[in-house]
């Protein structure tokens, strides 16, 4: 039986733009914690989870996906007006996502190749993060986000405290976890030193270099890391590709990949 919420229970809405749904799935993936969360908030609008769609205003809006069309721009502005706090989740919403790879190309060419009637397609020339259009109260990084970090952010908002989300490097959590170092001990390139923590240093824990899913850390020195990658035998092209993935259009990664363009 659905729990009856009292008037003080915050109304939460989950919205989606250009994205794969993986980040909002993290909320459903919270399994053990989900019942507690569902008890503490009123999930008023979450089309992926429920047909129940209450109108705004909402206390918290959680937004996944990047802004890629003129309609998206209108929609996100309306969402901003209807939400007390706006939290963006995932690489798409915080950096433009993998689809921002198109930002280096002429979008009209893609449209002509993909669609039989390209004249019906209305799109922006770039895929951009939500923060490029409206004020965002908190950006939660990751491709996908870490569900514990999402729960922490929701928890912090409910309790009116600062979320314990760190912008420092993956190396910090990698070392605290007890790992050695992929780059130092194996000579393999790893984006950990320039990437924000939060994933739990998953890849280095399995002897793979970090892919940079959580985007640039607080003070990334990408040129210095690239110089080291070169010494480890990476080509300029390899380095360009390393920075051009899920967070390709995040400022520090964008500049670094562009500086390695032939």
């Amino acid at each position: 039986m659905p729990q009856r919420k009292n008037a003080g229970t915050p109304k939460v809405a989950v919205f989606k733009f250009a994205s794969c749904d993986g980040c909002q799935l993290s909320l459903l993936d919270a399994e053990e914690e989900l019942l507690d969360v569902a008890g503490a908030i009123d999930i008023a609008f979450f089309p992926e989870a429920s047909r129940r769609m209450l109108r705004g205003p909402y206390d918290i809006g959680i937004v996944e996906g990047s802004i890629t069309t003129p309609h998206d721009v209108e929609h996100i502005r309306a969402i901003r007006k209807s939400c007390g706090a706006l939290i963006t989740i995932g690489a798409c919403a915080t950096a433009g996502g993998i689809q921002a790879l198109r930002n280096w190309k002429d979008i009209r060419n893609f449209v002509h190749i993909v669609y039989a009637s390209p004249e019906y397609i209305s799109t922006l020339d770039r895929s951009l993060p939500v923060g490029s259009f409206v004020h965002v109260d908190f950006e939660l990084r990751g491709c996908p986000i870490n569900k514990y970090q999402l729960l922490e952010v929701i928890n912090a908002f409910l309790n009116k405290r600062k979320p314990n989300i760190h912008a420092h490097s993956v190396c910090m959590e990698c070392k605290m976890k007890g790992n050695s170092c992929i780059m130092v001990a194996r000579g393999e390139p790893c984006l950990g030193p320039v990437t924000q923590s939060g994933c739990g240093a998953i890849c280095p824990s399995f002897n793979r270099g970090c892919y940079g899913c959580f985007g640039p850390m607080e003070s990334p020195n990408a040129p210095a890391l690239s110089a080291r990658f070169r010494e480890l035998g990476q080509t300029r092209h390899d380095i360009k590709l390393a920075f051009r993935t899920f967070n390709a259009y995040a400022d520090a990664f964008r500049k670094e990949s562009e500086s390695h363009e032939q």
Binding site: S169, K175, P193
Partner: protein
């Protein structure tokens, strides 16, 4: 050497068994995934026989040379710090109950650790952290309790790695103090044994308890020869004369800008440093806000949060953060604790992903030496 014991391989096994019987959790070196780690060990079979490491700035490679030597490696990435001063420690919980609230300190569940294979530089680091956590108004009772119950078997190094400079800081390669037992491993064609000196009554009683015999003159000579050879293999140096003043007087030296271009501000150096002790606290809540908790975690002077205070951050640039780390470690640490914060282990050099070498940075600030090729010039 003061009337040392001779311990054969079976004797070492008896030492490990005896420690476990006395209730210690025995931590020692193991080989895992291409590196040595300090982890729980149960017998001498867990020790990394034959493994040797090559350490240069930003580079670590471990190979097995087939030797019987247990302690032929030099230093693994992580130090003993993570056992005595763990990366995360829950401090207490708060519980709101109607109009009142209660605080429940988290019970300290640190076991009595026996460390096997502590190097001279690491003994130095532990003694520095002892000072840090026992001095002044801010004693760390959990650390001090773990130390009081701590049994240490040190090992004298048989050789130095390229990044070692313990002879400059006065910490090694021979273990001076701070151990219960210190071993010198002797591997010959026809014999493999340890010369063991004791540094405490518990150490001596343990050795007597397992029935270890005394070393003879030739054993002692072999041990002393091993240590002398180890001294000769230390190549790197840090000129420590007047170092605190040199750094304090050169906070505007152009070298800080130079190193800032190479520094990733990733914090690896502080994580692996056996003396770095900075921490932060995190407050957590349950969803209802009725239960709150406080956890201490390792922090680093390289993070942006570290110097964030009301009104802003007073160390935004990489230059100011690297300078803070190095000047604290080698200069203001002396003012604060009466000793330098560096023991010459070289971990910060090895595990810096871009191989920044603090000895090269100090040389450059001194102005005399030219910049080094490896790491220092990147």
């Amino acid at each position: 050497m003061n009337n040392p014991f001779r311990l054969n391989i079976e004797g070492l096994e008896r030492v490990l068994v005896s420690l476990q019987q006395k209730g210690y959790e025995v931590i020692g070196p193991r080989h895992t995934d291409g590196v040595i780690v300090y982890d729980r060990i149960h017998s001498i079979d867990d020790l990394p026989a034959g493994f040797v490491d090559e350490l240069t700035p930003g580079m670590y490679r471990l190979t097995n040379n087939g030797s019987r030597q247990f302690f032929g490696y030099t230093l693994p990435p992580q130090s003993w710090k993570r056992f005595l001063y763990p990366p995360r420690r829950e401090l207490f919980t708060f519980r709101k109950d109607g109009k009142s609230f209660g605080l429940a300190p988290k019970e300290d569940q640190t076991p009595a650790y026996a460390f096997v294979g502590v190097r001279a530089c690491e003994l130095g680091a532990i003694s520095i952290q002892d000072r840090v956590f026992s001095s002044g108004d801010y004693r760390d009772e959990a650390y001090l309790s773990a130390r009081r119950r701590n049994f240490i078997i040190a090992v004298n190094c048989s050789h130095a790695a390229e990044n070692c400079f313990c002879t400059s800081t006065g910490n090694g390669p021979k273990a001076g103090a701070g151990f219960d037992i210190v071993l010198t491993e002797i591997v010959n064609e026809d014999s493999h044994y340890f010369v063991a000196e004791t540094g405490s009554d518990v150490g001596t009683s343990l050795m007597e308890g397992i029935g270890a015999g005394r070393a003879d003159e030739s054993d002692v000579d072999a041990a002393e020869e091993t240590i002398r050879k180890a001294c000769d293999t230390v190549r790197k140096s840090l000129d420590t004369s007047d170092l605190p003043k040199l750094l304090a007087d050169n906070t505007d030296h152009p070298q800080w800008e130079d190193v800032a271009k190479r520094c990733l501000t990733c914090g690896n150096c502080t994580m692996v440093c056996p003396t770095c002790f900075c921490s932060t606290v995190e407050d957590t809540t349950d969803l209802t806000g009725r239960i709150a908790g406080r956890t201490r975690t390792w922090d680093s002077c390289f993070t942006m949060d570290f110097a964030k205070v009301s009104g802003g951050n007073f160390r935004i640039s990489a230059k100011s953060r690297y300078r803070q780390w190095l000047t604290h470690k080698l200069s203001s640490w002396v003012e604060q604790f009466g000793v330098s914060g560096c023991v010459g282990c070289g971990r910060c050099i090895t595990w810096c992903p871009v191989g920044i070498d603090l000895t090269a940075e100090v040389s450059a600030i001194k102005g005399g030496a030219t910049k080094q090729e490896s790491g220092g010039s990147r």
